[in-house]
């Protein structure tokens, strides 16, 4: 329930507990932002410390959080850190098979699960997808644990983004469902995820729904990882899969899947079957391919930052392929440079704000918006709970972190919305 002490307090007196990587651009960015606003430095609890088994309260004390203080807890992205990735996969192993209460769509089993021991023995292979579904299971177990431990240690503590909502945002299937239920504009679903058991099931659904062009997404990928723009020509039966996903297939053991630098279009059915089968095994979200607005012949999408009910920084990404959110080969533009009309931009912002209201216990997210080239209707493609790392862009003269923090200083009393019980855990 609400915590009047917390809301009335001087923001300079509320400690920020940051669960993140000890070093890195995000942590540095947040530190810098707090400094620029005259706010005290965050107490940083590294993911590694928590994953080594240290309870949250103990790790917070180690980080310097004064005893008796009630922190605001902010989680940042756990990615791009192999030791953390490996530890999360280990946490998702059968040895830890409990604490899945925050895992969305938990009726399904992960394919070829790694034991804890096997997970911890994984070696870093930079572009390889290690075990997305077991990683996500582990991440959700960590979220549940943090939610639980925070409630025990500081019954009045608030999360910046609620762990249960982070889990839903991260799972594209659950996120799509949540957004649709909230009346937010999302691309039409190809089929309920439970039905998409493999290549044949995907093709059958496409044929039955007459949805010949779809985006197939790994349910918990980040950015363009594990995304396939897939189409079947209803007249000729020809199929095309445009993706950066690649496979090395073996007879005796599971294949190796990785993200290549180049986006390629595959036309061989067996190759395509392998990739789609992999996505289905781990969890597939499939939706209609929205023909996106383009700048020249480069399709674009928008990353719109939203915090405390306001739309802030907006970045346009223009790709050379249908997959616009690739880090590689995408070009970043301002909305003005991309020639997006004010009306479309306003509609996109409105939709991003609507998407955020589907997550009332979370303060901010980077929301990916597609604009249909026919009619310019906006669609929400993704809600990224950690989508605020936007470089070299300012709003109201502030970088994204500083803007978020200043929004928090002035608008935290409206947040979370009254009556929200956080995290599915009874606070």
């Amino acid at each position: 329930m609400m915590h009047p002490d917390h809301l009335d307090a001087d923001p300079h007196l509320i400690p920020l507990l940051l669960i993140a990587h000890a070093e890195g651009e995000r942590t540095d960015g947040l530190r810098q932002a707090r400094r620029s606003l005259g706010l005290p430095q965050p107490f940083v609890v590294p993911y590694e410390r928590l994953l080594a088994g240290t309870p949250l309260a103990e790790a917070a004390a180690e980080a310097g959080l004064p005893a008796g203080s009630v922190p605001l807890i902010r989680l940042d992205a756990p990615g791009e850190h192999f030791a953390v990735e490996r530890a999360l996969i280990a946490l998702g192993s059968p040895e830890h098979d409990d604490g899945d209460e925050l895992l969305p769509l938990r009726g399904r089993r992960d394919p070829y699960r790694f034991s804890r021991r096997a997970a911890l023995a994984l070696q870093e292979q930079p572009v390889r997808l290690m075990h997305p579904s077991q990683w996500f299971r582990g991440f959700c177990r960590l979220l549940a644990r943090l939610s639980r431990e925070a409630a025990q240690a500081w019954p009045q503590a608030l999360f910046w983004n609620d762990p249960a909502e982070i889990a839903i945002m991260f799972d594209k299937r659950a996120c799509h469902r949540r957004l649709k239920e909230a009346g937010v504009s999302v691309p039409a679903l190809l089929a309920e995820p439970e039905k998409l058991t493999g290549y044949e099931a995907v093709r059958t659904a496409m044929s039955e729904r007459r949805m010949h062009r779809v985006f197939l997404k790994l349910a918990f990928g980040s950015a363009a990882s594990g995304v396939i723009a897939y189409q079947i020509n209803p007249r000729t039966g020809e199929e095309r899969a445009t993706t950066s996903l690649r496979a090395e297939v073996y007879v005796q053991r599971p294949g190796v899947f990785y993200n290549a630098k180049q986006v390629r279009t595959l036309t061989d059915s067996e190759d395509i079957r392998t990739l789609i089968g992999y996505l289905c095994g781990h969890g597939l979200h499939a939706e209609r391919w929205i023909p996106k607005l383009s700048v020249g012949d480069r399709p674009l999408d928008l990353r719109q930052l939203v915090a405390f009910g306001e739309a802030g920084h907006c970045v346009v990404r223009a790709g050379q392929t249908p997959i616009t959110n690739l880090h590689l080969r995408s070009q970043r533009l301002t909305p003005e440079e991309a020639g997006i009309t004010q009306a479309s931009l306003t509609a996109a912002r409105r939709e991003a704000l609507a998407a955020m209201t589907a997550f009332p216990a979370s303060a901010s997210a980077g929301i990916d918006v597609l604009i249909d080239r026919n009619g310019e209707r906006p669609y929400i493609a993704d809600v990224n709970p950690f989508g605020d790392l936007l470089r070299r862009v300012s709003h109201d003269g502030l970088d994204p972190y500083a803007w978020e923090m200043s929004r928090w200083m002035t608008h935290r009393s409206n947040f979370p919305l009254p009556g929200i019980i956080q995290g599915g855990t009874q606070v």
Binding site: Q231, P234, W289, S294, P299, N374
Partner: protein, 283 residues
């Protein structure tokens, strides 16, 4: 000049709307009389329905568009339909129905035919596709287009319908065929080097303003043939952008052919020890 683009999105198409109705509605509006440029985008499931109904409607409604000078049939991006999946049709009736037309652009070559082309006023003919069939090339090589100034053809690759020989391609560039021709584009080809070599010494170049060999697989081989030609050196504009020339060759071209655009150099794809070069529109 007034311009209108008609395009039918997926939702509208699945809801039963169709392009023929959209054309009829446009024809009934007062602005139809002044319309000078009409762009037809996705006509609804363009990968399963041909442009035949659109062409028939345009022919039937031609008197409603007396000012129409420029027509584009099939303006859609790969976000809407793969270029090789766009189903065209016999566009020949358009030539008789619109005798005042000066510019015709076509995107997509599947099932495309142009028949016996005869048009006194057409100045521009542009075909954008993944692979141009020999039937269309023959129609152009035998066309009566005395006013034609710009001919721009995406030649493409065999996979997407290119099935002509080099001779059949070069037949459209026969000197004297189009006496007013100033812009020739034979581009986006997987035999771009051969085309470059075949055109390099043609007397057609004496009257051209621009030769466009861009967007294809042009390598040092084709570039050598171009460098060896006095006629190429005298051309006002040589468009070679999107190419596979080496850095050294680019330096030479830049120094010796200041008329050339050599931007957008591509890296050769290597895969299992084989080298692959792809034209721009067919990658």
């Amino acid at each position: 000049m007034t311009e209108i683009k008609l395009s039918l999105g997926y939702e509208d198409y699945e809801d039963g709307k169709n392009m023929v109705e959209m054309l009829e509605q446009l024809a009934d509006k007062p602005e139809a009389a002044a319309l000078s440029r009409l762009i037809i985008g996705d006509w609804g499931g363009s990968y399963e329905n041909s442009s035949a109904d659109v062409v028939a409607a345009l022919v039937r409604l031609s008197t409603k568009f007396p000012a129409l000078r420029s027509l584009f049939i099939g303006d859609m991006s790969y976000e809407e339909c793969e270029v090789s999946w766009i189903i065209q049709s016999d566009l020949n009736p358009l030539f008789a129905a619109y005798p005042e037309l000066t510019s015709l652009t076509i995107k997509g070559s599947t099932d495309l035919s142009l028949g016996q082309i005869s048009h006194e006023k057409l100045e521009e003919l542009i075909i954008i596709c993944g692979g141009l069939g020999k039937g269309v090339l023959q129609s152009i090589a035998q066309a009566h287009l005395p006013a034609l100034q710009k001919l721009e053809l995406y030649i493409g690759v065999e996979n997407y319908g290119f099935d002509a020989t080099l001779e059949e391609v070069m037949a459209v560039a026969k000197p004297g065929l189009f006496p007013k021709l100033t812009y020739l584009g034979l581009k986006d080809s997987e035999i771009q080097d051969e085309i470059a070599a075949a055109i390099a010494q043609s007397t057609l170049l004496d009257t051209l303003d621009t030769l466009d060999l861009s967007e294809g697989t042009l390598s040092d081989v084709g570039a050598e043939a171009l460098l060896a030609s006095e006629k190429i050196r005298r051309l006002p504009h040589l468009d070679l952008h999107f190419h596979y020339m080496s850095e050294e060759m680019m330096t030479r071209i830049t120094a010796e052919l200041p008329n050339a655009d050599v931007s957008d150099r591509q890296d050769v794809d290597e895969y299992d020890g084989e080298e692959y070069r792809y034209p721009s529109l067919t990658e």
